[in-house]
């Protein structure tokens, strides 16, 4: 019926031969050919692990451009002291002395009665955590600034948190949900810091920004930033140069609760020459401010609300103006997202410490979170000592610029890499975490293990499977940010709860000692009052 040879048997012979060849190929170890590294093609990877990762010699130390990011902390201290001594006085109500003309740094505009207090919380009402990853506080001074933050939250006083990070939190990922959780629990409103202009404004869902006439530069473009602007970065990592008429409008969104409307706002900018700027609120209230030129940070502080939208326009004097952005919401709990992609934290050393200190004087951060390390970590590298030394300096630098704030080092997040067995956690993670925890401990700062918190939720593979992270198995998205933010908020709640507990114990102790003292006093009194037997 059929002409020619039948090849039915040939199929299994070919398949068997193919398996034999592939098994032999599996025995070839990983190697580099012409600069291209070739993995072991292990057809039996589901069954046999040749342990290539363990056998690979660990690279000596992670490559780091410390020279480029050199910082002398003593010089920073001197600079801050010098600046503080030379700080021009704020204007007073009395006529200005012409010789030492005061410089007005804050332009106030009250549009209503501001409620700057939080709601005092009852520690028992704080949401419970399913799995808690606590914050480790390495404070050795006995007056931990982190403890002060917990006390403020407990008492219902305003708190402000700055989160400095990289692309992991870009676009308000994580911080949007941390802010929402804290504001829902402790009170407060507003999206926090939003830059004057940036190519990524469309990506940020928690504020609608429309800007024109600005040229933005970020600190990772330091070398291509015009030289006069290079010393104008503060921790936001962005500077914007305006042309006359440049304007920005920020508007709250409903991407999270408590964003719109907000109460209170600040607009931060520099005006080295005389300038005239216009501010609008809710597109109905408008006011013009004449700003005398000076080399200090300026703010237009709007108090009260409700604020749905805020606009800023440089009407005159644009050449001397540098725009930073606005902080929407100054009441209650505030979280500001200061993210610059590709930053491993060392770019902080290129910020101007005096500007940072001026920003701190205006904003008053209680906590600065450092979320870095993802851009340094590499598969196969286990020694991060040089990066650890840089983190120690970062903490010290932040302390110099933000002296009243606690510093929290966020450990590197979970990250997966591809192997012949599929996706596995990057082998460098524990080493990077050890380095970050060590740096925090050495400086008496606080540390939170992000990777452990993510691990408790199933790790990066689970994040990707759930649609909580990108397919690079490195970056979380907004949905993933919500999960990590909740874990971090749980850790903060736990601190507040412990603080409340300690306070209660202290009160009970005092009450008990008071009772003992009272009863002793009573006993003495009774003894004295007792009728003396007359013999």
């Amino acid at each position: 019926m059929y002409d020619g040879k039948d090849y039915t048997h040939r199929s299994w012979l070919a398949a068997a031969a193919l398996i034999a060849v592939l098994v032999c190929v599996s025995l070839i170890p990983p190697r580099s050919v012409g600069g291209v590294s070739l993995r072991r093609a292990n057809i039996l990877s589901d069954l046999i692990d040749f342990g290539d990762e363990e056998a690979a010699p660990a690279a000596s130390q992670v490559p780091l451009d410390e020279e480029e990011f050199r910082i002398d902390l003593e010089k920073v201290a001197e600079q801050l002291a010098r600046h503080s001594a030379a700080a021009p006085p704020e204007p007073t109500e009395s006529p200005a002395d012409t010789l030492f003309a005061p410089v007005q740094t804050t332009f106030e505009w009250t549009i209503g009665t501001a409620d700057t207090t939080l709601h005092p919380v009852c520690a028992n009402n704080l949401p419970p955590a399913d799995v808690l990853q606590p914050i480790e506080d390495f404070d050795t001074t006995g007056s931990s600034p982190l403890q002060a933050l917990y006390d403020k939250l407990l008492d219902g006083r305003p708190v402000r948190i700055a989160v400095l990070g990289d692309s992991f939190i870009e676009g308000d990922i994580l911080t949007a949900d941390l802010r929402e959780t804290l504001q829902e629990t402790y009170g407060g409103s507003g999206t926090g810091f939003a830059p004057m202009a940036s190519p990524l404004t469309g990506f940020r869902r928690t504020v609608r920004t429309s800007a024109k006439g600005w040229t933005p530069y970020n600190i990772m473009q330091y070398k291509t930033t015009p030289r006069p602007l290079r010393s104008d970065f503060f921790v936001s990592g962005w500077v914007c140069r305006p042309e006359n008429g440049a304007q920005t409008r920020w508007e709250g969104t409903d991407a999270r609760r408590r964003l719109d409307p907000c109460e209170g706002a600040r607009i931060l900018f520099l005006s080295r020459g005389d300038s005239r700027v216009e501010v609008g609120i809710n597109d109905t209230l408008h006011r013009t401010f004449t700003v005398r030129g000076a080399d200090v940070l300026r703010q237009i502080a709007v108090s009260g609300g409700p604020i749905h939208s805020l606009s800023f326009r440089v009407a005159e004097g644009a050449p001397g103006v540098v725009g930073y952005g606005a902080l929407l919401g100054t009441a209650g709990a505030g979280v500001d997202n200061y993210s610059v992609r590709s930053n491993n934290g060392q770019a902080l050393f290129r910020t101007n410490p005096a500007l940072n200190a001026q920003a701190q004087a205006m904003i008053g951060y209680d906590l600065v979170v450092l979320q870095y390390g993802l851009n340094i970590m590499q598969q196969g590298i286990r020694n991060y000592a040089n990066y650890g030394a840089q983190i120690v300096k970062m903490i010290a630098y932040v302390r110099q610029c933000f002296p009243s704030a606690a510093v929290l080092v966020m450990g590197v997040s979970d990250r997966s890499v591809r192997t012949d067995r599929g996706f596995e956690p990057m082998d460098a993670i524990p080493y990077m975490i050890a380095c970050q925890r060590g740096a925090a401990a050495a400086q008496g700062a606080a540390f939170w293990d992000t990777a452990a918190a993510m691990g408790a939720m199933g790790g990066m593979e689970r994040f990707v499977a759930n649609g909580w992270a990108g397919k690079d198995y490195t970056h979380i998205n907004f949905a993933g940010g919500r999960e990590v933010a909740r874990a971090l908020a749980d850790a903060l709640h736990d601190g507040v709860r412990r603080s409340a507990h300690e306070r209660e114990e202290r009160r009970l102790r005092e009450e008990r000692s008071q009772c003992v003292a009272d009863s002793l006093r009573q006993a003495v009194r009774e003894r004295l009052m007792a009728p003396v037997a007359i013999k």
Binding site: S11, L13, L200
Partner: protein, 498 residues
Amino acid sequence: MASAAEILDKALGLLVYDTHQPLIFNSGLFLFLFAGFLLFYALLRRSTSVRIIYVILFSLYFYYKSSGVYFLLLVFAAASDYWIARALYRTRRPWLRRSWVVLSIAVNIGMLGYFKYTNFLIDISNRLFGEGFLQFRNIFLPVGISFFVFQSLSYTIDIYRRQLRPLDRWTDYLFYLSFFPQLVAGPIVRAKDFIPQIRRPLHVSREMFGTGVFLILTGLFKKAIVSDYISLNFVDRIFDEPLLYSGFECLAGIYGYALQIYCDFSGYSDMAIGIALLLGFRFPKNFDSPYKAATITEFWRRWHISLSTWLRDYLYIPLGGNRKGRVRTYINLLITMLLGGLWHGAAVRFVLWGALHGAALALHKLWLKFVPRAKATGAEMSWGWRIAGIFFTFNLVCFGWLMFRAESMQTVSLMLHQIFSNFNLAVAPQVLKGYLSVFLLMGAGYALHMLPASADRTAQRIVAASPTVVQVLLAAGMIWCVMQIKSSDIQPFIYFQF
């Protein structure tokens, strides 16, 4: 190194159903199972009935590895349509015949509807009547249900149309429905094309063997190298967060997705057709270089041919086709493509994708009617018109893919916003440099796709005529490449917007 007992434990673990590890042709496990299967398949080549039972058992195991206990659904569908078809064939009264075929359609579409569309319908109800009107159900979607339901329908409908005689043995029907090469991702093989091959003496010619090897290799290249690499390292991230990328990158992401979906789908089809050839079965061609199409009508003659012809024969023609006037023809086209879109997935975006293609097909028919010089396919056009037609059709199809791939209509609008308002061509050199391997692979993919059909035939002839040793070494080389790609580092996110 693990001990023998640990290895055995792991091996046994691999053989059990795992939701996250379905059995696919480009997995190592399949190679081992298939080699073992082939040995006994060859030994049973003269015992037709035993061989059929053997293939059924392997196919059901293959399905169990993908969908667990739902392999019983396949058995149920086979039993149901087998008995309905027999009853239908025996009946002479037209109304009863119609009732039987309606019952078959109801059972098949009912299964498909329950497993695939229940939550979609609940979602629509909740949108209409308010959140919480109906609760979402936790329903498992058995792999390949859309394919085997359509295959089974082709059997009962063809018998209803008296184009086919029913099978005498239930096992033969189960063999047809569960045959593992095309079970989970097509092609949709019609009963009348497949059934005559079941009990034919088993014979694999040299040409069948060589072509089978060639198709498996090209399928592996398309699916496991081109598609998987560009999706993980470029396309997915663009569609996940379009606002992080320039319009240039978004457009490249859409073109990348067009190649990815073609390579994914046609690659798996090629492997299925190749594997079937090694087993002595011939399947019809499923893809014919669809992006060479110069009109949308031609595109649907080249894209997923087994589906488009199924829709034509079992949906468009029963609706009246082009026999009921011009307006009805356009409406029929639109309905066919809307349902064809819905077949691809239970979401509004698939319906819109279908509507776009339906409208485009209708408009093209109208164009052909009113412009006498217009041609239906590129082969009839002059070179200039053909190139313009290919460019236009490709971009129209890509616009459709944008809707098909985007998670929501918001993503569609964001991608379009980036392309039309933030194209930023200046970043192109950096993007090309940063994603060099992705763009090289995309370039190679499109170049190979656009090669004339003769080049494909020549390559096929060369591989088919090669000695088996060479074919084995070629396969080993291809699998080695697949494994290098599979374990390669993920391209880190690169941002060029500033």
